[in-house]
Symmetry: C2
Subunit: 159 residues, 2 copies
Amino acid sequence: MSNIFNIETKNGKQYGILFIYILHSINKLPKTGYDLITEIKEKTEGTWVPSKGTIYPLLKHLQEENFIIIKQIGERSKQIFMITDEGKKTLSNAKKYGCQMEENFLKFRRLVSEIVEFKNEEIIELMYNIRMLSVSKSKIKDDEVRYILDNCVNDLKKI
Amino acid sequence: MSNIFNIETKNGKQYGILFIYILHSINKLPKTGYDLITEIKEKTEGTWVPSKGTIYPLLKHLQEENFIIIKQIGERSKQIFMITDEGKKTLSNAKKYGCQMEENFLKFRRLVSEIVEFKNEEIIELMYNIRMLSVSKSKIKDDEVRYILDNCVNDLKKI
DNA sequence: ATAATACCGTTCGAAACCGAAATATTTTTA
DNA sequence: TAAAAATATTTCGGTTTCGAACGGTATTAT
């Protein structure tokens, strides 16, 4: 399942979603490993809670690769990490491929739709197209996308 | 990341997405391990390709648990699997919790959207409504749902 | 004042999955 | 006609992630 949540840049480098999220989050505000676990848990309402056995080794690795450094050490061996210039560059580069991740996820989700949602393959495909188009077109004309989706909701309600 | 791709039934049983997909797909048409790998690869356009090392042991396990049996053996040691009554029951039971996985996806997706800087909560919410309405309304009037979704796709394409 | 909980990090065995290598046969391509 | 590709399965070492156990301190609840 690695391809679904990985980004692969031009030079063949692969970054997992946790790798990217850590850089993304620390870029916004320096924080601890404990903070990151808590934040992800809250933001996904408990559906994704990376293990300590995953977070702490990965933070150490990010340090070794010079993407982050320890900004300060507080009480209880608290280690507050901050992003480096190298980390910012890597994050920025990875985000260029963010739509790749989005598309992969939507493709995977389409398969899941077949199992748990719709029996009609045509509707599955239509839903997939709406999702894909919404993401790409909203970058151009956000308002129009929202208007169209809102109309769709209203039409569906009338059934 | 187990919660995102698992369904957990009332009695605490957990089923992975691959487990469920295999039962779902074989329920529709008996097939081989090779067929399953190929099918998943095609349907997700290459974003998810379970490994042979994953599929074949899992098929063996499903057999041992009496969810599937070998319907026939063809050329090249081809093993065609079909679902059992026990398998159908388990599949049916798991599908009842399908919406659980959908909810998890939505929550996880919000985090992914933050990373890729697709910040439009309103569009995500509208998409969620469209999906919910489509599921429920398609049970009543499949044709009308398809018509409305098709119109939506066409409108989005015009942007 | 004490116990429970929350806040911190480290580490390693187990589980799940991957991917390569191996084996084999049939079909397609050059 | 021979080579390449596709169809098939098995297996196992390696990788990734988890989760439990461990160690520790500060805060909150009883």
